[in-house]
């Protein structure tokens, strides 16, 4: 059974989190993400959950990580300036393999920029924003429906791979209202517990150790320092550090096919758009308006780890066109994998590309 609602994207995000069992939200008000915090402040206390408004975004992500270690599904939501503040502790979450969900309703940057306008300028920051090498997972919704579904999936991925998972939405999708089908319940996979008596940071074949929840008698020491399989600091052993960082990266990168989530339209096309988030909607409109099926679309719901095998679907492709609300952040990543020219179609300022602009780009390159 499903029910039909007419929701704002940010509300769908909060509801998706609640349906996935999120019971802790730590946040700080920031446009254009604030509706998520406000909705969680209303709903969490009624579900025996915790909502806490922290003193800043640094404290928000810290509290989320602390809550996650008690076993809670925990999340925060923010936008550019708050996202920048969170970076150090995001690296801590990656290093300590803390499952948590971070929602970024992207707005125009740099700095305070355009608080009420949409953008996709934080796509590289979410991948590489904290210092050192690590890997994360980033999902990009392009509809209110996907705000709900991808937020719910983010919690499963966070628990399964023990990484911070990012919902990289934008102001346009966050503040858009449209029809959504809400299921009665969302199935979710429980976090795999550490087998008692085994080392807390020793991983098996999937490279992900079991989770030693605080308060369960594991007596685990969790540190952001380079640590051995016991979790003990071991910061000057070069081989140990190299092995640890490789595992943190490999556990995500080796699973990229399982994490990958994308849609392919018109795989025989020669001209193929690749889009994620709000620009998907413009491409869909363009395809809808054309009588033929000569233009393809690869819609990415997973952007990190980048699902490069999706490109193999387009056997006849001659050119990829990549409309983004930034200066070509993911176009550059696509160039690393593509064997044909990649044309970046950047747009800044907060407005979407128009179908006409994309049609002109198609014609210009022929």
């Amino acid at each position: 059974m499903t029910k039909t609602e007419f929701w704002q994207g940010n509300i769908a995000c909060a509801e998706g989190a609640l349906a996935a069992g999120c019971r802790f939200f730590g946040g700080y008000p920031i446009t254009p993400s604030t509706e998520i915090a406000e909705h969680m402040a209303v709903k969490l206390p009624k579900k025996n959950g915790v909502f806490i408004q922290m003193e800043d975004e640094i404290g928000s992500i810290a509290a989320v990580i602390g809550a996650a270690w008690t076993g809670a599904r925990a999340m925060t939501a923010t936008s550019g300036p708050g996202f920048s503040l969170m970076m150090e502790n995001i690296g801590y979450a990656a290093m300590t393999e803390t499952p948590c969900v971070i929602v970024n309703i992207q707005r125009g940057g740099p700095s305070t920029g355009q608080p009420t306008m949409g953008a996709q300028g934080d796509m590289m920051q979410c991948r590489f924003g904290s210092h050192g090498d690590y890997s994360i997972i980033a999902l990009c919704p392009s509809s209110v429906q996907e705000m709900y579904e991808l937020t719910a999936r983010a919690f499963d991925l966070a628990d399964q791979y023990r990484v911070p998972v990012f919902l990289m939405a934008d102001e346009i999708i966050g503040h858009m209202r449209e029809k959504i089908l809400v299921p009665d319940s969302v199935p979710h996979k429980a976090r795999r517990a550490l087998v008692k008596g085994t080392l807390p940071f020793k991983a098996g074949a999937d490279l992900v150790p079991g989770f030693p929840q605080f308060g369960s008698g594991y007596g685990v020491h969790v540190t952001g320092l380079t640590h051995d399989e016991r979790g003990y600091p071991c910061a000057t052993n070069p081989k140990l550090h190299e092995a640890l960082v490789h595992r943190l990266v490999d556990k995500v990168e080796a699973a990229r096919d399982r994490i990958a989530d994308y849609d392919i339209i018109n795989p025989d096309a020669q001209q193929v758009f690749i889009a994620y988030g709000a620009p998907v909607r413009t491409v869909q409109q363009l395809l809808h308006d054309r009588a033929d099926d000569e233009v393809g679309l690869l819609q990415l719901r997973t952007v990190w780890p980048f699902p490069e095998k999706a490109l193999y679907a387009f056997k006849n492709v001659e050119r990829y066109l990549v409309p983004e609300l930034n200066m070509g952040q993911i176009a550059r990543e696509i160039e690393r994998h593509a064997t044909v020219p990649v044309q970046s179609l950047p747009k800044l300022g907060g407005e979407l590309h128009t179908p006409r602009e994309l049609a002109a780009a198609l014609e210009a390159g022929r």
Binding site: R23, F24, G26, V50, I52, M54, E55, D56, I58, G59, S60, A62, A63, V64, I65, G66, A67, A68, W69, T70, G71, A72, A74, E88, N89, Y92, P212, F214, G215, S216, G217, Y218, G219, V220, H221, V222, T223, G224, L225, R230, Y232, P233
Partner: protein, 262 residues
């Protein structure tokens, strides 16, 4: 229980310098826990970055050694998500009062049910002796080579002003008083702040004319002004010696709390 069972013995030897006061504070903390009869699986230690913050790793319970200045914010998440846990924060003057100052005052304001034990050595020890927000005026450090010109924070006064339910200050010399204060901190619902003045022979004492470890401990002892004595001086309208700091129970009250055990 014996508190010696609470040490994570396979982590030894510890990183603290010979003569460091931090071990004394850890001992007092565990002795207070022994009196409380807490269970290991119900207790979590959280710490930030610095010498004092390494303490969490030498105790056998669940522990979270976090980022610089953020221990209280992490601890807030732990405690709010599972109020049944006893959550204790180890921190230092730089971690708590410089980079972590905002989290400190807001946790006091919320009066969240944590016990925060600050090992105040008045210096950044781990990075080699830079001036901290509690380095006294005139004292030498590697970043105050001509004497510190800034005024120091009084951390306990800060905690009281910000709303903590329980505040005590003692030194590494007054171990029985400190142990008792920590126990009262554990017993008091809400935010409890214990400021433990400690010697740092390597980074502070060496530069500030404390040739022996005992010299600095003796300085802490002789410059401690008991709260009761301080109150008598004030009452009599007599001057309070400027180079002394007040020790004792500085605040105990029952403001509304967050995150207390159900």
């Amino acid at each position: 229980m014996s508190y010696e069972d609470w040490f994570r013995k396979d982590r030894l030897p510890h990183i603290f310098c010979a003569g460091c006061g931090n071990g004394t504070i850890i001992n007092c903390t565990l002795a207070a826990i022994e009196q409380m009869n807490w269970k290991k699986e119900e207790t979590v230690f959280v710490s930030g970055i610095g010498c004092s913050s390494r303490a969490s790793g030498y105790i056998i319970t669940d522990s979270l050694h976090t980022t610089h200045g953020r221990a209280i914010a992490f601890a807030t998440g732990v405690k709010m998500a599972n109020p049944n846990l006893n959550v204790v924060v180890f921190t230092g003057d730089g971690d708590l009062a410089a980079i972590g100052g905002n989290h400190f005052i807001h946790a006091c304001r919320r009066n969240i049910d944590l016990t925060v034990i600050c090992m105040n050595n008045q210096i950044y020890g781990m990075t080699g002796g830079q001036g901290s927000p509690t380095t006294p005026k005139g004292c030498l450090s590697s970043t105050t080579p001509y004497g510190c010109v800034e005024s120091p924070f009084d951390l306990s006064e800060l905690a009281i002003a910000a709303g903590a339910n329980y505040v005590s200050r003692w030194t590494s010399y007054q171990v029985k008083e400190l142990e008792r204060a920590i126990k009262i901190g554990f017993e008091t619902p809400g935010f409890s702040f214990i400021e433990a003045m400690v010697q740092c022979p390597t980074a502070f004492g060496r530069r500030n004319k404390f040739k022996q470890v005992a010299d600095q401990i003796d300085y802490l002892r002789t410059h401690s002004l008991l709260k009761a004595k301080y109150d008598r001086l004030i009452e009599a309208g007599k001057p309070v010696p400027e180079d002394q700091f007040i020790v004792g129970e500085l605040c105990r009250r029952q403001r509304p709390v967050m995150g207390a055990k159900p």
